[in-house]
């Protein structure tokens, strides 16, 4: 008995001696009050121990009682150091000053900027808004998606195109999230511009390898884009006037330091010139796109915060009164952050997402209209649990209801009946758990499991479901009632990634994981078209599955001045969808019969050398890759190069800050031409000359290369005033900042093939290959301001 009492006393005292306390809080920008995402909190006394802020700027760190020096670090912010005495749980909200805005002397840091080496994540690309601001692009229209294409493993979908391919995956295999809401068609104007107005964005992260377990639903990548929260300190505005568009963003506190909002808009105005036409119909024609971003957030007490954000964007094309074509996305996200304890952070999101297009023929009295739409309602609950300084758990659940309307046809003033393509309902659910664990001082592990399921439901009282023969003909039709379960797919997706520090400057990383994709983009063309159709998995279309493994070596040089990394990857894909020769995608109720399924493989090696600091910054990236597909019924069932297969892909980006007022930037890209099918012979039938093809994707477009250059001239940032007290002259920052941006796209006028057509002159019988090139030496100018 005595022994027991002694034991319990010892245990108790041991418990008291080893008492752990938690320091938690939020990190914010001292200028704007924006949350700082992904900032690191390091403990000087315990090397290798630390925390990272989540997407809402929250951190939590549990340490034994003691006195510590905490170092808060984030890209483009000055380091912040603070000594704390941890004798109880502490809440510590920190405001960090943006780089260059700090006038006090900052302690020289003992800890290096080596996140790329130490982080357990691999295959992740981050781009700062600063990079986007400086990299020259087509028409001077800053674009996060286009800048991302300059990184290894990410390939442009084509000339001036915002679409992209990640590690051999198709354009539909990228999950593009704007404040957690999926954006189904991320481009304007047939792909030439992305829907993301960079003025409204805060943070962009691309997972091209194995994504964290919280993400799912696409095979190849996750692009996680966060909108700004809005300045919670003071009213501010920024904007720009460019060659093809203008934009304006306003931000303001609702209640200072408690809540804020941001409102951002952009519109192109190529059509304004039409108003000067003396043709009445030209005056009545429209061609433009616009974007609106809005977001508000409010803190309720210390533990709760609410966010409401939305995006609305549309392309409009109208030809007199007779033809109209418009398309666009709408998303809405409502979020509620709640701090359950200083270790458990929770968020509930309700997300709405929509994409649709409408094509209209005829005048107002007599009209024929075709429309298509996809609509999602998504509910998500996520938790971050900061167990201790070595383990951070994330877990959550998610349910999405998808409503697809592939084709709605309406006529007015005209006696004419056409059947709609039937709607489809489906439900996608998922649950995940993941732990990020530090093992010793050298090993970082992130491992998790995601379970997802997908159910196709009856969408009408008599929903017809077709069973197809191998040849793609309807063999049988089954009927289901509304909400009947037609088919369910489900699967487990394990994910693991790790980094092993070799020494202070280098690490080895490895990752492996599986992803599922239940939605498929039916696009039978090379370019992205607004009429591409999203189709859910069904009794006929099985979900896509991808397994990817990768290995990487990361090394920094010269005090982290230079970052070098290389990754090799291999990806195996199942249920890759392609079409029977000559399938029709639009307005085809039996399109599933035209689909063929096969397997795909993608492998390659990526190199990145980057200089982050100093007057001259930039990067050099190179990818050597192969992407192939094998489908019964295409190319005699043999492996063939996928359209996005590109052997070599090189990007060079240089940004040179000449002085405070002048920044010069340049890029050069080179890649192997896309795989393409060219004719090899011709014959005559039905009075027409027809080309004969020997092999699918057996030829290549000519190699692509291009250089762009940009110059940004900042108007004076400081002004001289006379100090009222001392009478001395001194320099203070101007309230109104502005800059001019000049850029040239395709500087040396390379004519890169956008398409190549083979045509035979019926008179002479001569066949010629005609190449269409789109953009050659396009200069642009823009004026940007901020106050």
């Amino acid at each position: 008995m005595k022994l027991l009492a002694f034991l319990s006393l010892t245990l108790l005292s041991y418990g008291i001696l080893a008492q752990d306390y938690t320091i938690s809080g939020n990190l914010r920008d001292s200028e704007t009050g924006e949350d700082i995402i992904g900032a690191r909190i390091l403990v000087k006394e315990l090397p290798g121990t630390g925390a990272i802020t989540n997407v809402y700027g929250f951190y939590s760190l549990t340490l034994p009682k003691g006195t510590y020096t905490l170092l808060y670090k984030s890209i483009s912010f000055a380091d912040f150091e603070e000594t704390i005495e941890l004798t109880g749980d502490i809440t510590k909200d920190i405001e960090m000053a943006p780089e260059g805005k700090v006038f006090e002397k900052v302690t020289v840091t003992a800890v290096k900027e080596d996140e790329n080496i130490t982080s357990g994540e691999m295959g992740v690309e981050k781009i700062t808004m600063k990079d986007i601001e400086n990299v020259p692009v087509l028409f001077g229209e800053k674009d996060v998606l286009k800048t991302m294409q300059l990184l290894p493993g990410v390939k442009s979908a084509g000339e001036g195109n915002a679409g992209f391919f990640v590690r051999g995956g198709g354009a539909d295999q990228n999950l593009i999230l704007l404040d957690e809401a999926p954006v189904y068609n991320a481009s304007h104007l047939l792909g030439f511009f992305s829907v993301f107005n960079s003025d409204a964005l805060k943070d962009v992260k691309l997972y091209k390898g194995t994504p964290p377990a919280e993400f799912g639903g696409r095979l190849s990548s996750v692009m996680d884009i966060k909108m700004k929260d809005g300045n919670s300190k003071k009213f501010s505005a920024s904007g720009g006037i460019g060659l093809i568009s203008s934009k304006l963003t306003i931000e303001s506190p609702i209640v200072k330091d408690k809540g804020s909002f941001i409102l951002s808009g952009r519109r192109t105005y190529a059509d304004l010139f039409l108003a000067f036409s003396d043709n009445e119909n030209a005056q009545n024609s429209v061609l433009y796109f616009y974007d609106l971003n809005a977001k508000a957030n409010y803190r309720i007490g210390k533990k709760d915060r609410i966010f409401v954000s939305g995006y609305f964007g549309r392309d409009k094309f109208g030809f007199s009164d007779q033809f109209g074509f418009d398309w666009g996305n709408a998303t809405g996200t409502m979020r509620w952050n709640h701090l359950y304890s200083d270790k458990l952070f929770g968020n509930l999101s309700v997300i709405f997402s929509q994409y649709n297009y409408k094509i209209k023929f005829g005048s107002e009295d007599q009209q024929f209209e075709i429309g298509s739409e996809i609509q999602d309602i998504n509910i998500k609950k996520d938790f971050d649990y900061y167990l201790n300084s070595n383990n951070t758990l994330k877990f959550g659940v998610n349910g999405i209801f998808h409503n697809f309307r592939p084709g709605e046809i309406e006529t007015t003033g005209f006696d004419f009946q056409v059947d709609d393509i039937p709607n489809r309902y489906s439900v996608e659910t998922a649950a995940y758990i993941q732990n990020e664990q530090k093992v010793g001082k050298r090993l970082n592990l992130i491992y998790g499991l995601r379970y997802s399921s997908f159910t196709q439901l009856g969408a009408s009282d008599q929903d017809s479901v077709y069973i197809f023969t191998d040849a793609g003909e309807i063999e049988n039709t089954l009927y289901y009632g509304k909400w009947d379960n037609i088919v369910t797919y489900h699967g487990l997706a394990p994910r693991i990634s790790m980094s092993l520090l070799l020494d202070e400057q280098s690490s080895l990383k490895a990752s492996a994981g599986r992803t599922y994709q239940y939605l498929h983009l039916l696009s039978n063309s090379a370019a992205s078209a607004p009429t591409d159709v999203w189709m859910p998995s069904s009794n006929n279309i099985r979900p896509g599955i991808a397994d990817q493994g990768s290995l990487g070596y990361f090394r920094n040089f010269k005090e982290n001045m230079y970052e070098f990394s290389t990754e090799v990857y291999y990806k195996h894909m199942q249920n890759v969808v392609d079409y029977r020769d000559g399938a029709e995608v639009n307005l085809n109720p039996t399109v599933e019969g035209d689909l063929l399924y096969g397997i795909g493989r993608a492998y390659g090696v990526e190199f990145l050398l980057r200089k982050r600091k100093g007057k001259f910054s930039g990067w050099l990236s190179y990818t050597l890759a192969r992407t192939e597909t094998q489908i019964d019924g295409i190319n005699n069932g043999e492996w063939y190069a996928a359209r996005q297969d590109r052997t070599h892909d090189i990007s060079i980006v240089g940004i040179y800050n000449l002085n405070e007022r002048l920044t010069i930037s340049g890029t050069w890209v080179y890649y192997t031409g896309n795989a393409v099918t060219f004719p090899t012979a011709k014959y005559e039938i039905d009075g027409q000359i027809v080309n004969y093809f020997s092999e699918r994707n057996g030829y290549r477009f000519p190699d692509y290369h291009r250089a762009d250059i940009g110059v940004t001239l900042y108007n004076k940032k400081m002004k001289t005033i006379i100090d009222a007290d001392t009478g001395e002259e001194k320099e203070v920052p101007k309230k109104f900042e502005s800059s001019w941006n000049f850029s040239v796209y395709n500087l040396y006028g390379r004519e890169n093939a956008y398409s190549i057509n083979f045509n035979t002159d019926p008179e002479t019988g001569v066949t010629t290959a005609t190449q269409i090139a789109l953009f050659k030496f396009i200069p642009s100018i823009a004026f940007n301001f901020k106050f």
Binding site: S525, A529, P589, A681, A773
Partner: protein, 269 residues
């Protein structure tokens, strides 16, 4: 539709796309035997054309194949021998032949020691109901006349699976757009659809003749795959060869079909 997307792209950007001829070397493909076998319900208008392909850059003097043995056999076992028409080498005809509805025909072509066969079953004879149209005011951009937006209406035969092509002929010029369809989802229903891609300008006095053609599945597949491969714009599908129903050689392209036709004419002042 696909060409339209490109037009939008270019107009939006107010930029001329630069076009130039380039040299692209391709490997020669094995020479293809080309057979166009058309049987129809109009007396003496059936024909079989035989020719050969040329290399991509080999001009358009397509070699006509003379001296072939061409015959068609119906399901009753009656053999119709088609003879080469004098003055038009490679064209084989039989003036007394008229294809009947709901009948299976076998084709046999022997040329250069190779025998090519195929089979096709005719459906019932279709019937066009009407050709309604909309009048659009002038479009602008240099087009000062009104345009017609033409529709076709016919009723499907409920007793069988049907595949159709509707083809307008405007002032004697055949429209090469593909208006094709099947009755998989609307068996026995009336079909109404517009000629999307065929603008008709008022003031040019249009004599319009519309032919409705009904045929079997294999010919539908052929046309369908041809339609999609024909367009070469950046928005079109991956090009491929139309799916043939001819058998007997790896290097034969073309089709054989028993087509049931109905025509209707319309005059737009």
């Amino acid at each position: 539709m696909k060409r339209l997307l490109l037009i939008i792209a270019v107009t939006f950007l107010v930029l001329p796309a630069c076009e130039k001829e380039i040299t692209i070397d391709v490997e020669d493909a094995p020479q293809q035997l080309v057979i166009e076998g058309v049987l129809n319900n109009y007396l003496g208008e059936s024909y079989i054309l035989i020719s050969k392909s040329v290399n991509l850059y080999g001009g358009t003097n397509f070699e006509k194949v003379s001296g072939a043995s061409v015959s068609v056999e119906d399901e009753a076992g009656i053999v119709y021998v088609f003879n080469e028409e004098s003055g038009t080498p490679g064209r084989y005809v039989l003036p007394t032949f008229q294809a009947l509805p709901n009948t299976t025909y076998d084709l046999m072509v022997t040329v250069d020691g190779e025998t090519i066969t195929s089979t096709s079953t005719s459906p019932s004879i279709p019937k066009l109901d009407s050709l309604p149209y909309l009048v659009n005011p002038p479009a602008g951009f240099g087009q000062e006349d009104s345009t017609y937006f033409l529709f076709y209406v016919f009723t499907d035969d409920v007793t069988q699976e049907n595949y159709y092509r509707v083809r307008p002929e405007i002032n004697g010029d055949l429209d090469n757009n593909f208006y094709i369809g099947n009755d998989q989802l609307g068996n026995g229903e009336q079909v109404q659809a517009p000629f999307f891609a065929t603008p008709l300008v008022v003031g040019d006095s249009n004599n319009i003749k519309v032919t409705l053609s009904s045929f079997d599945e294999a010919n539908y597949t052929y046309l369908f795959s041809w339609a999609n491969a024909a367009d070469q714009s950046p928005f079109s599908a991956v090009p491929s060869n139309p799916v043939t129903n001819l058998e007997g050689s790896e290097n034969v392209v073309g089709y054989f079909g028993a087509f049931m036709l109905d025509t209707m004419t319309l005059y737009l002042p």
